[in-house]
């Protein structure tokens, strides 16, 4: 557990992070100076469409980017230390698992097929909690129980291919939680699961946050999930951060045109067909991204300045810098 850091204080601060990927077809400008702060004890949602750079952000914190990635600038401060400047060895020993852990989108391929679920969770336990294999086994059963797996003893002995998607995902959480990390990054964890399983899953996360003071960075493209469990939300578009706010503020009073588009494009039960809007256009390819504000080609409020100058994050007055927006003309957005 984190000593010395109080709830609400910044745990991880991503500052001006720029990342490119070198590919055969050209340089993909994946992240363009993003800024994000995750505070201790909160569930922070990171929302955006597929390909906007959410996963890249999370992988960068752990130093798990592919070989063709190039970090062009910025910092990731975790408890005062810049993760980007850390050597691989230190990153592995101190950060991965220990401080930050991560669950991935596709549970099918995230678990090693040749070891049982129990063995894999036990690996974490032995590393971070108790070296004794016999005692570790019991701890594993407890962890499996904590994530509400119905028959921990049975699951322990099963191989991943013998478990359902929802169970696999829960094993993943158990495996990462057993590392006793302080920050859990969940990268689209429920995308591959049934809606009903999703609901259970989210409940489990909420309980963990309350009971264990777990900080979670929840990455998704699903607005509904965000509205359910997140405390604060950051919206991302094409490698740029467009808006960050408390969840209520974001949904009640979104300031950025893209955010508004997102929120209004989700049909709620009460939304009439006429009110249902879509955002025209498609997500741009990041090899030759739009200049300035990357959303400008699809934005109905866009003016000349938008294609020339990239907007910076400005605070919405009256919200104590808790609601920030990256748009030149957000005040005019209605």
């Amino acid at each position: 557990m984190v000593e010395g850091l109080k709830l609400g204080e910044p745990l991880m601060v991503i500052e001006d992070l720029k990342i490119d990927f070198l590919t055969e077809e050209g340089t993909v400008k994946a992240l363009d100076s993003i800024n994000l702060t995750v505070r201790k004890g909160e569930i922070h949602g990171l929302i955006g469409e597929t390909g906007c750079g959410k996963s890249v952000t999370s992988l960068t914190t752990l130093g798990l980017l592919d070989d063709n990635a190039r970090i062009q600038g910025g910092h990731i401060y975790y408890r005062e230390k810049d993760l980007l400047k850390m050597k691989e060895k230190k990153l592995r020993r101190h950060i991965r698992g220990n401080e930050i852990s991560m669950i991935f989108q596709n549970p099918v391929s995230s678990l090693n097929p040749v070891y049982t679920a129990g063995e894999q969770v036990r690996e974490s336990v032995v590393l971070y909690q108790d070296k004794n294999k016999k005692r570790a086994r019991q701890i594993v059963l407890d962890e499996l129980d904590r994530v509400k797996l119905p028959d921990p003893e049975d699951v322990y002995e099963k191989y991943p291919h013998e478990l359902s998607g929802g169970m696999k995902q829960r094993v993943m959480i158990a495996m990462m939680l057993a590392c006793n990390s302080n920050l859990l990054i969940a990268d689209e964890p429920t995308t591959a699961l049934d809606v009903s399983i999703q609901a259970q899953f989210i409940k489990v996360l909420k309980v963990l946050q309350e009971k264990n003071d777990l900080t979670i960075l929840y990455i998704t493209h699903d607005m509904a999930v965000v509205s359910e469990i997140c405390d604060r939300v950051t919206v991302m578009y094409a490698g740029q951060i467009v808006e960050t706010a408390d969840v209520h503020d974001l949904f009640k009073d979104p300031k950025h045109p893209y955010t508004r588009g997102l929120i209004h494009s989700v049909p709620g039960v009460k939304t009439a067909i006429e009110d249902f809007e879509t955002i025209p256009g498609t997500v741009p390819r990041l090899i030759n991204p739009p200049s300035g504000c990357r959303f400008h080609p699809r934005c109905e409020y866009a003016k000349k300045k938008c294609s020339k100058v990239k907007p910076t994050l400005e605070g919405v007055p009256g919200k104590n810098d808790k609601h920030v927006v990256s748009c030149h003309f957000w005040e005019e957005v209605e």
């Binding site: 752990l62 950060i95 698992g97 852990s101 090693n112 097929p113 040749v114 690996e123």
Partner: protein, 321 residues
């Protein structure tokens, strides 16, 4: 239908697999039998020499049952084999084939075992090195050496090794057999070529495994690099290697024949060569059958081992290809 009597899925699989081997061995006996008889040459002539008279030739053939019709010879052979474990009497040496093989087979097995060790250690090592450093000089080095040893004919490699390491440098004996050290150089000849196969396979298998998500999961947990590579990646990557090695067993016997010939080692390989050159049908058919049975059994074990090594396979179906 077997389900009623034997509950264990794995046991059923093993039984089915063993049963599948029976027709294979049967076919092998037919081929082994016909192998030298199709050519139509008369062993008696070759073995007794050109001073032999018609009478002597005839006597020889009768004595060894070669005058009987083919199907009779085959049945007699099979009968002796199955019910008495007899492999026949050698045409060239006049002694029971079992007696001739007994001291020789273990030697060849030793040779092959040594080759296997060399090739597995080298092959997996090279393959892993290449996969962990793809497209670097390390990778090119390991890939190129694999390609080279794969392309070099074993009989030539054996000859050159004999020249350089035995005759010129004196590091190894120049032939014969007194102890296992005499098998080292020939084992390298076979092993280096086998290693080429293993290293290429290991490399591509490792590369594909290293791209999988569960490797990122392992890294995320904060595991040390060698744990990720060995415990998580290699364990998956080596799964196909077992099967491939079993597939190369027959080839290894061929390699043994050549190296035993060149290094003058009194093993099974050289025995078969001499027997074949003398047209000793009987010795050849039985020896060849023995090694084929060994190869079939090895493949059987490999298939069974595979079910232990990869928990994903369905033991319900019996594999076709």
């Amino acid at each position: 239908m077997l389900e009623r009597y034997i509950k264990s899925k794995r046991k059923r699989f093993i039984i089915k697999r063993v049963i599948k081997s029976i027709p294979v061995i049967l076919i092998a006996t037919l081929v082994a039998f016909s192998l030298m008889r199709i050519g139509g040459r008369d062993p008696a002539r070759v073995i007794l020499g050109h001073t032999a008279t018609e009478e002597m030739l005839h006597e020889f053939n009768v004595e060894h049952g070669l005058d009987k019709p083919y199907h009779r010879q085959y049945i007699d052979w099979m009968h002796g084999l199955i019910f008495h474990g007899e492999l026949g009497t050698s045409l060239r040496w006049g002694r029971p084939v079992t007696e001739l093989i007994r001291p020789r087979l273990p030697l060849t097995i030793q040779l092959m075992g040594l080759s296997l060790v060399i090739s597995v250690v080298m092959g997996i090592g090279m393959g892993v090195l290449g996969a962990l450093n793809p497209n670097t000089w390390i990778d090119y080095l390991t890939s190129t050496q694999a390609l080279f040893w794969w392309s070099a004919p074993p009989f030539w490699v054996a000859t050159i090794f004999l020249l350089i390491f035995a005759f010129e440098l004196g590091l190894f004996p120049t032939g014969g057999y007194r102890n296992i050290y005499y098998l080292v150089l020939p084992a390298f000849v076979i092993g280096l070529r086998l290693q080429a196969v293993i290293s290429r396979l290991t490399r591509s298998s490792m590369l594909s495994v290293l791209n999988k998500e569960y490797i990122k999961t392992a890294q995320t947990k904060g595991l040390k690099k060698h744990v990720v590579v060995i415990k998580h990646a290699l364990r998956n990557a080596l799964i196909p290697v077992v099967t491939i090695i079993a597939m190369y067993l027959p080839w290894m016997f061929g390699g043994a024949m050549i190296t035993e010939q060149i290094f003058n080692i009194p093993g099974m390989g050289r025995f078969i060569y001499n027997a074949a050159m003398s047209l000793d049908f009987i010795a050849v058919q039985s020896s060849v059958l023995i090694i084929t049975i060994i190869a079939v059994t090895a493949n059987l074990f490999a298939d069974i081992a595979y079910t232990f090594v990869d928990p994903r396979i369905e033991l319900g179906q019996s594999e076709g290809v």
